[in-house]
Symmetry: C2
Subunit: 447 residues, 2 copies
């Protein structure tokens, strides 16, 4: 099939997209969250979807359900909250004006994640209009993704019976730097840790350095003990559960062809750890890491002040790969600290499970086929992203093995999380088409 | 001799002390500096001292000279500038009110260093009044001690011919926690360094951790390479020039008898590196150190933010002992960084030379003898302080080998650099007596 949109359909979808973008919904401050949830509920209802606002410990989830009485069900995950807009003075158009200019719409949330939410919904609408929907759909819209999804797991745990599905389509996807649609089959996991060392009640004159413990030294020694010269993690057992890529997955990696030169330019760094595309992609997608996010201790102003600081703090994140377990990794870290006698307190600030959906699954085949049909090129399929999403919540709690990030309106120049976030309107229409095509294709794929 | 002060002499000295304390002279802001220098010049002149205000690149030096045509000359160093007064609301009496209460005078600078300056001057006056002065005196009063003496070295270099002397009496001294007068024969040296590592133009999402360099890791690795597990410095050649204590000096150390328990209480720390007084004093006075004064990189606010920081900065101080040379140590550090391939920039922010005056010198004998006479107890004599003063400027440039910190009005409860700085008025009078006694004794000691 080819679900080409009429001008009227395009106009209506764009109108809704802009209306949605004009509603602030900043999860960090709470601004507009409740209004936007109510708006989404009305929008779902207007499309014939049974919709409800679901209370959580924090911002509400909006849930939608549309049954055609099929054997198969797809669960569509998006989030309606957005990042804060600062620095405001760098925006060319006000962030909630949703100004259309040069074929693009500019707004906070245009790419992450409101455009994709609307595109999928209008893909569903198109399919209904054409009488071609033969899969049940569930829509789950979170309001706290940009603040780390603190209540998603709890909500899903309490609603397992209502959320059953054969596959989950996460947010993400979109187009890569070369304009190719991306299909990403998994995510890295994460352990986020804060380390604190306090040795006294106040900073001391550094003439005391020979006799007192310096908490900055203690953290430096602990941190250095966590990695070898190449950055490989030296915590006992850290790599024990790492599952290597299957041949299928390793084959997929080859489609990632960003060169070191392109990467250096895009990231604005002086140099990279690896000189070849091959080594870069292996590192990026298959290596777990231990990263220092922040370190603070003592006097850091201008000139000099001679003190032994009273305290030191570091923030660390470990990116994990299947089948590392974030809670087990945190325990291994604590054991390392204790065993080596470091006087450091470890606090867990975040844990997410790494996930990889197998390549030979129905959802992957349907995504590939539908993407190729709409975009006219082979999609870039990657075994997992280099980053993290709460995909593990769906696989672990709901037991849904088919989980992918795909279908998105964003591109490499969309400025997600930055000023002047934008989406090319043509990419918005393509994502509607892709959604319709995918929903149409999925139930036709042989298991 | 016993230079007991009459009530009239006490009254006059105290009046001058209070008048001097009521003049703000904050080197950090410049407040009152010039007025105070002019006041000192007038005060010196009124005592018959040939006085001048000497311009430097910063706040002026006040120089005084009084010759009795003797073969020997003493150079008396003090500073007339004071620390800032904040936090102002913690002062019980306004910091420049010089309020007398309960036998104490409360004011910023009461102990550090205005009281000692005045006491020495009135000791000199007493001796002149009694016709007992048989040594030439030079007074050098700095206005930038509290901001690190940035212009002292340059000034002395330009005025070598005017500053010649047989011995220098630095500031410091005063009474220890047990009320004993202190005589300190030297200082540790210092190298203060800022380390910077910049890897990119902006913080990056930490999903890039597998392929980009993290400047915080680079600094952690460099720092850890500088010391072993016990904190001993691992820079090649660092200890090469360390001159062990002579037997005389080692013997002196025994007079430092502060226990670990007393130290823990005074410093407010959880524990110390050494469990015995013996080990504490050896470490405190004879070990050079490498200390982290500050470290900053990346995100250090609440909760989590997953980034690879673009830059990291650390401040380090090395306390040195005779005969380590601060400039050579800085070069050894740079060589270490280069040789080990660290991408870190090292900037020198301060260098001071360690100094020890030999025990068997005239100045030490005269200090001991005069202190015992005035205070009735053996003074505590230490081969050097655990901290740093610009003593090396006098020994290196002027070539004066006899350099000690002694004669002071302060005690362990004087709150130097803190709110409610104060001095017991009786200790002020004792310091006048001690000054007179010392000036009287010095020329009588056989070389």
């Amino acid at each position: 099939m080819s679900f080409v949109l009429s001008e009227t359909e395009k106009e209506e979808a764009l109108k809704t997209y802009i209306e949605f973008l004009q509603k602030p919904s900043v999860s960090a401050s709470g601004e507009g969250i409740r209004d936007t949830a109510e708006y989404l509920k009305r929008l779902l209802s207007s499309l014939g979807v049974k919709a409800s606002i679901e209370e959580t410990g924090g911002h509400p989830v909006v849930l939608g359900e549309y049954s055609v009485g099929a054997n198969q069900t797809l669960l569509v995950y998006n989030h309606y909250d957005v990042q804060p807009v600062d620095p405001l003075d760098e925006w060319v158009h006000p962030p909630f004006s949703a100004t259309v200019s040069g074929g693009k719409v500019f707004a906070r949330g245009a790419s992450d994640n409101k455009g994709t939410l609307i595109a999928r919904l209008y893909g569903f609408k198109k399919l209904v209009a054409e009488g071609k929907l033969s899969v049940n759909l569930k829509f789950i819209y979170e309001g706290e993704e940009e603040i780390g999804s603190p209540n998603l797991e709890g909500y899903i745990q309490k609603n397992v019976h209502r959320l059953g599905a054969d596959a989950v389509i996460m947010e993400g996807g979109g187009l890569d730097a070369k304009g190719r649609p991306q299909v990403i089959l998994g995510v890295k996991g994460l352990v986020y840790v804060e380390l604190n060392c306090n040795t006294g009640v106040r900073d001391l004159h550094s003439s005391n350095a020979p006799i007192v413990y310096n908490p900055a030294w203690e953290l430096v020694k602990l941190l250095r003990s966590l990695v070898d010269d190449e950055g490989r993690v030296r915590i006992d057992g850290f790599y024990d559960d790492v599952k290597p890529l299957t041949d299928d997955e390793a084959e997929l990696l080859r489609s990632y062809d960003t060169t070191p030169e392109e990467t250096i330019k895009a990231l604005g760094v002086k140099r990279l750890k690896y000189p070849s595309t091959e080594k870069l992609r292996v590192a990026l997608f298959t290596e777990p890491t231990c990263n220092i996010d922040g370190f603070s201790s003592g006097y850091t102003g201008p000139k000099s002040k001679t003190i032994v600081p009273a305290k030191a703090m570091a923030k660390l994140d470990f990116r994990l790969v299947p089948n590392q377990n974030p809670h087990k990794i945190f325990e291994l870290l604590q054991t390392h600290v204790r065993k080596n006698g470091f006087d450091v307190d470890c606090r867990l600030l975040g844990a997410e499970t790494p996930v990889r959906t197998p390549v030979r699954t129905r959802v992957v085949s349907a995504m590939r086929e539908s993407a190729k049909k709409v975009y006219g090129v082979e999609p870039v399929v990657l075994p997992n992203s280099a980053g993290t999403q709460p995909m593990g919540v769906f696989t672990n709690i709901l037991g849904i093995n088919e989980c992918v990030s795909a279908i998105g309106v964003g591109s490499a120049s969309s400025n997600a999380h930055a000023p002047n976030e934008n989406v090319e309107i043509e990419n918005f229409y393509k994502a509607i088409q892709h959604s319709a095509e995918f929903f149409y294709t999925y139930p036709k794929i042989q298991p």
